[in-house]
């Protein structure tokens, strides 16, 4: 008999919940160092380039904050669905729809200098993201179609839609047939936040959504109903909380947040529509949501760390020649370690008493005699 056993926790342990993400980050760093060594790079140098260097310059910090915005936004939206066991893994496509629709608005009113242009782009993009997710919600509630598969497939469709638009209807007529749109007018762009960096005022949107998410999750009745339908579907049904409502709400919120993030990209660092809009923010945000413990405040920290991985990956590609796959591998390892450690949120290790061990072993002897 093993000297330890796993015992389900009878009450939540805050310490375990806080320790799990920290330990999984440490384990990721250790495993990452091993990977650096296997690639023939000195771990301290690679480590410095990946995780420290981005934070040593104003530009670097700006880049981290710039990438934190969309991750934070999308993860807040996804986490609300995940808590209700609604698996939206197609945020990437919902982001693209937000980018496409807000981009189309910007191009339609290219010469406008109205202060209403940017807000209407934000509203249009947000609604477009929600509408794209609504397809999955409708297919799930009316046709019982699995939302994991549908949201993923829809993100592939969204990518092709973007490719079609930037090489056809929305292509810049003066652009020498490059697959991209014309540049947006100034009124269609977010203001820079700090000079010398690319971070812009769309970060405020992400922070505002974080506060709204916190109020929704912690203080509102619909938020509570969603949580219950995830934790105890049977109980939720008895209490009369509709499962279909949870699916709709979870997907619409996730889609809206992702759509808004898409606006932030095209009206922020890009300033036009092109084939590459997101470096996989929609997928990385899934990891952010988990790493943040599906909690609005935890997600804030997780989004910062994930943004650091993105920027560190880009910078170390240049400075120490790490392969660009490092970012993806770090993301995967982070979620793997998080899920492994998460066991200790629900269970604790208990040392078996001497008595138990002795009685178990004597019991075994007894049976062999």
């Amino acid at each position: 008999m093993k000297p330890f056993q796993l015992v389900p926790r009878t009450q939540q342990s805050l310490a375990a919940q806080l320790l799990v993400p920290v330990v999984s980050i440490i384990l990721t760093l250790v495993a990452g160092s091993v990977m650096f060594m296997l690639l023939g790079k000195s771990p301290p140098a690679a480590f410095y380039a990946f995780f420290i260097e981005p934070l040593t310059t104003r530009y670097g910090i700006g880049e981290v904050l710039l990438k934190m915005g969309p991750l934070l936004l999308i993860a807040q939206g996804l986490a609300i669905g995940f808590r209700a066991q609604v698996w939206n893994i197609g945020a990437e496509g919902q982001l693209l729809l937000g980018a496409i629709v807000s981009g189309a608005i910007a191009l339609q009113f290219e010469t406008s200098d109205s202060a209403w242009l940017l807000p209407s782009m934000v509203v249009g993009g947000t609604l477009a993201g929600a509408a794209w997710a609504a397809i999955a919600a409708w297919l799930r509630t009316s046709f019982n179609a699995n939302e994991i598969l549908v949201t993923f497939m829809l993100s592939s469709v969204a990518l092709q839609l973007l490719y079609y638009l930037v090489s056809g209807p929305l292509r810049d007529p003066m652009g020498m047939s490059f697959p991209q749109s014309a540049m947006f007018g100034d009124a269609a762009l977010f203001e820079p936040l700090v000079s010398g960096t690319r971070v812009n005022t769309s970060l405020y949107l992400a922070l505002a959504v974080t506060i709204v998410a916190w109020i929704f999750v912690q203080r509102s009745i619909p938020g509570y109903k969603l949580l219950v339908s995830g934790l105890a579907p049977q109980a939720a049904r008895y209490a009369g909380f509709s499962e279909n409502r949870a699916v709709w709400l979870g997907l619409l919120i996730g889609g809206a947040a992702a759509g808004m993030a898409g606006v932030g990209e095209v009206a922020g660092p890009l300033g036009l529509l092109q084939r590459n809009i997101s470096p996989g923010y929609g997928f990385a945000a899934i990891i952010v949501a988990f790493l943040g413990g599906l909690h609005p405040i935890g997600i804030l920290f997780a989004a910062f760390f994930m943004a650091l991985i993105y920027v560190g990956g880009d910078m170390s590609l240049v400075s120490v020649g790490l392969p660009n796959a490092s970012t993806t591998i770090f993301q995967g390892m982070l979620l793997v370690f998080y899920l492994a450690c998460y066991l200790f949120v629900n269970y604790r290790l208990q040392r078996r008493s001497k008595k138990q061990l002795i009685s178990a072993s004597s019991g075994r002897e007894g049976s062999t005699q």
């Binding site: 993806t328 591998i329 995967g332 492994a340």
Partner: protein, 307 residues
């Protein structure tokens, strides 16, 4: 006309083969009660490993073997998370999937965009020279036939053997299976390992025969279509294979339409496999009874022996 028809029919079988291998693996995993969503990453790892090993050794057999092992190793991470650490299977599948995509890029880094001589098609003399059916049925590469054989074998094992009975028992009711002495965790572990190896072989067929080259992102969502195929086929091997051929045909149609110069945007044709997946998924899932009847009862639920 005959040429086009031969191209479509013969190509359909070849295009469907990667999906068939991966889907037969996923079927066994799901029958044992585990939902493995990491197929995309497992296929990518197999595709890159198979390509690199076959290029270096010059042996396609070595390529397929290495691909099976590499993807199986990666599926052990998934097994550890879901069986050992009782992690949510959806999240664990995503995690290992992302890890696999990253690993594939790292493995294939030196070979990005490189091509390889595809494995040779079999030649049965006059049989292979018959119009249309010759190339379709008697002139494919050997792995196409291995894929078909795997469908027959899996059907037989799952429905007619004791091993199949044990796998299904574990998937339907792990508690009951455990109480009559079947090792639930071990059965699920072996199923996951098998599923990993099959996804690796499927991925390697992409790079060693179908494309035949390595490029980042070459699996292009096929791993997710595989998961959908298992639902379409309502967890029955022959129907899943039929679904795979349908998708083979759809992806071939894309090349065909472009070749004929039809005025359909190429992006619409590229999106077609995903759109069709969504539509069929909705049609099949619509009848909740069919899904309920065929879907392994414990699918996706972590199992604890509770000592």
């Amino acid at each position: 006309m005959i040429d086009s028809l031969t191209f479509l029919l013969a190509g359909t079988l070849a295009a469907a083969t990667p999906l068939i291998f991966a889907a037969m693996g996923e079927l066994v995993v799901e029958k044992s009660g585990v939902l493995n969503l990491s197929i995309e990453g497992l296929m990518a790892t197999g595709a890159a490993t198979g390509f690199v090993v076959a290029t270096v050794t010059g042996s396609a057999v070595a390529g397929f073997t290495a691909a099976a092992f590499a993807s199986m190793l990666l599926s052990f991470v998934f097994a550890a998370l879901t069986l050992g650490f009782l992690a949510n299977q959806v999240a664990a599948g995503l995690a290992v999937g992302i890890l696999g995509l990253g690993t594939s890029v790292l493995i294939g880094k030196q070979y990005e965009g490189a091509t390889i001589k595809p494995i040779a098609n079999i030649d049965l003399g006059f049989l292979s020279d018959l119009p249309i059916i010759g190339k379709t049925l008697f002139g494919q590469d050997p792995m196409v036939y291995v894929g078909i054989a795997s469908v027959v074998l899996i059907t037989w094992v799952l429905n007619r053997t004791k091993l199949g009975l044990i796998i299904r028992a574990v998937g339907e009711s792990p508690k009951a299976a455990n109480s009559i002495g079947y090792p639930v965790i071990l059965v699920r572990f072996c199923a996951i390992a098998f599923g990993g190896a099959m996804a690796g072989i499927g991925g390697a067929h992409l790079t060693l025969s179908y494309t035949p080259l390595w490029a980042e992102g070459l699996v292009a969502g096929r791993g997710w279509i595989v998961v959908a195929l298992v639902v379409f086929g309502t967890w029955k091997a022959p129907r899943i294979a039929l679904g795979a051929y349908l998708f083979g045909a759809v992806s071939l149609l894309e090349l065909f339409v472009q070749g004929q110069g039809f005025a359909i945007p190429s992006q619409l044709m590229s999106a077609m496999p995903y759109i069709i997946t969504i539509i069929i998924l909705a049609i099949i899932s619509r009848d909740a009874r069919i899904i309920k009847l065929n879907h392994p009862a414990s699918l996706g639920v972590p199992y604890t022996s509770g000592e």
